[in-house]
C-alpha cells in the first residue's frame, strides 16, 4: 500500500461538508447543553428536595451509560413511541441531552463553589434573591465553570464522531466513506485524526485565552 494523500485532496468539498455537519452538531450540542444544563442545575438548587432527587437520578443515568447506547435508544427505540427522527436531528437531540447532563453537573459545582457569604452579603445590601443570583452568583460562577466547560466541549466534539454509527453524515462518516470508495482507508483515517486533533488543540488554546481574559476582567473590577 502506497500512502497517497492526493486521493483524499480530490474529495475536499465532501470533506468540507462533513466538517460543517460536525461543527454544527458540536456547537448546537454545546449551546443546547449549556442552556438545558444551566436550567437543570438552577432548578435542582432552588426547586426542593423531590425535584432535586428526580433530576439527579436522570443526570446519573445519562452520565453512567455510554453515549452510543443512548443514541441507539433514541434512534432505534424512538419510532416505537412515535418519535421518528432523521439521523441529523436525532444526533442533535442525543448530543444535547448528553451534554446537558454533564453541563448541569459543572454548573452545580459552580453554584456550590460560590461562598454563601457573598450571596448573604448581597441580600443584606438589599438585593432581591433573583438579583443576588444574577449579579453575584452567576458572574462568580463563570470563572469557576469555564475550565471544565472547555474540557467538556472537547469531549463532546469527540463523542460526536459516535454519531457516524447511526449514519449522520458528519466528518467521521464522510471521510471513512471516501476512504473505502477510494481504497485509501488508512490515509482517510489519518486525515480524520489530524482534523480532530487540530480542532481539539485550537479549542484548548482558545479556552486558556478566555480563562486568562476573564480572570483579568474580574481583578480589574475588584
Amino acid at each position: 500500500m502506497i500512502f497517497n494523500p492526493a486521493i483524499i485532496m480530490e474529495k475536499l468539498p465532501e470533506i468540507g461538508s462533513g466538517l460543517m455537519v460536525t461543527l454544527i452538531l458540536w456547537l448546537v450540542g454545546i449551546a443546547g447543553g449549556v442552556a438545558v444544563g444551566f436550567v437543570v442545575a438552577t432548578v435542582r438548587r432552588f426547586g426542593g428536595r423531590m425535584i432535586n432527587l428526580g433530576l439527579g437520578t436522570i443526570v446519573e443515568v445519562l452520565r453512567g451509560t455510554p453515549f452510543l447506547i443512548q443514541v441507539f435508544l433514541l434512534y432505534y427505540g424512538g419510532p416505537f413511541i412515535g418519535l421518528m427522527l432523521d439521523p441529523i436531528p436525532c444526533g442533535l437531540i442525543g448530543l444535547t441531552i448528553y451534554s446537558a447532563a454533564y453541563y448541569s453537573e459543572i454548573f452545580r459545582a459552580g453554584y456550590a463553589a460560590v461562598p454563601p457569604g457573598h450571596v448573604e452579603a448581597a441580600q443584606c445590601l438589599g438585593l432581591t434573591r433573583l438579583q443576588a443570583i444574577r449579579r453575584i452568583q452567576i458572574p462568580e460562577m463563570a470563572l469557576i465553570v469555564l475550565p471544565p466547560s472547555v474540557n467538556l466541549a472537547v469531549i463532546l466534539l469527540k463523542e460526536s464522531a459516535v454519531l457516524s454509527i447511526i449514519t449522520v453524515p458528519e466528518l467521521t462518516a464522510t471521510v471513512s466513506a471516501i476512504g473505502s470508495q477510494q481504497y485509501a482507508f488508512l490515509e482517510a483515517i489519518f486525515l480524520l485524526a489530524v482534523i480532530y486533533w487540530v480542532i481539539v488543540e485550537l479549542t484548548g488554546r482558545l479556552g486558556r485565552l478566555a480563562e486568562h481574559r476573564l480572570s483579568r476582567l474580574r481583578f480589574a473590577n475588584a
Binding site: K158, A161, Y196, V200
Partner: protein, 213 residues
C-alpha cells in the same frame, strides 16, 4: 424481553468487563512510562510523551480504533480484532492516566520529600516509600473516574465487531424488534457496573486513608 435475552446481555457484559479491565491495567503501565518521561525533564522524552498524550486525548476514540484496526495489518501485524480493540483502548486510557499520574507526582508536598531525605532515606527509598504511595493515593479518585470512562467507551469496540454488551444489544434488537427494552437493559447493566466501580472506589479510598494522609 425475556429472561433469555437478558441472560445473553449479561454474558456479553463479561466481555465488556474483561476488555475494560485489561485495557485499564495495560494503560496504567504505559502511563507510568509516560509520566516518568515527562518528569525526567529531558527535552526529547518530554516532547515524545507530550505528543503521545496530546494525540490520544485529541482524537476521538472511534477514530483511534479505526486507525489501529487498519494500521496494524498494513504494517504487517495480523492480530485478532479483540487484540486491536484492547490496544486502542489501552493507548487512549494511557494518555489520560499519564496526565493524572503526573499531576499526582507533582502534588506530593516537597516538605515530605525533604523530611524523608533528612531522615536518611536514600533517593530510591524516598521514591518508592514516600513519593509513589502518596502520588498513587492522590490519583486514585481520578483512576476510578477513568475506569468508568473506559467501561463506557468500550461500547465503541462494537464497531470493529467485538461481541460485548453494545454489540449484543444491537444484534438482539435487530433480530427481535424490541429495541427499547433491550437497549434499556443494556444501559441498566452499564449503570450497575459503573455504580459498583464507584462503590469499590469509595471503599478502597477509605481503606487507603483518603487524600488527607
Amino acid at each position: 424481553m425475556t429472561l433469555k435475552l437478558f441472560t445473553l446481555l449479561l454474558q456479553a457484559a463479561v466481555s465488556t468487563l474483561g476488555i475494560s479491565l485489561i485495557s485499564i491495567a495495560i494503560g496504567f503501565v504505559i502511563a507510568i512510562v509516560l509520566s516518568a518521561a515527562i518528569l525526567s525533564h529531558k527535552p526529547a522524552y518530554v516532547f515524545s510523551a507530550r505528543l503521545f498524550i496530546s494525540f490520544f486525548r485529541g482524537v476521538p476514540l472511534l477514530v483511534q480504533l479505526l486507525l489501529i484496526y487498519t494500521l496494524l495489518p498494513v504494517i504487517g501485524i495480523n492480530v485478532p480484532s479483540i487484540v486491536a480493540a484492547i490496544v486502542g483502548l489501552s493507548l487512549c486510557t494511557a494518555a489520560y492516566q499519564a496526565e493524572n499520574l503526573r499531576g499526582g507526582f507533582e502534588s506530593v508536598p516537597p516538605g515530605l520529600i525533604e523530611a524523608a531525605e533528612v531522615t536518611g532515606l536514600n533517593p530510591q527509598q524516598t521514591f518508592f516509600r514516600i513519593r509513589v504511595p502518596i502520588a498513587l493515593r492522590l490519583t486514585f479518585p481520578a483512576l476510578i473516574n477513568e475506569a468508568i470512562m473506559i467501561l463506557k467507551s468500550s461500547s465503541l469496540v462494537s464497531v470493529v465487531g467485538i461481541i460485548e454488551i453494545t454489540k449484543m444489544a444491537q444484534d438482539l434488537a435487530s433480530s427481535t424488534y424490541l429495541p427499547i427494552p433491550i437497549f434499556a437493559s443494556a444501559a441498566l447493566i452499564y449503570l450497575v457496573i459503573n455504580s459498583f466501580v464507584v462503590l469499590i472506589g469509595r471503599f478502597a479510598e477509605r481503606s487507603l486513608g483518603g487524600a488527607s494522609a
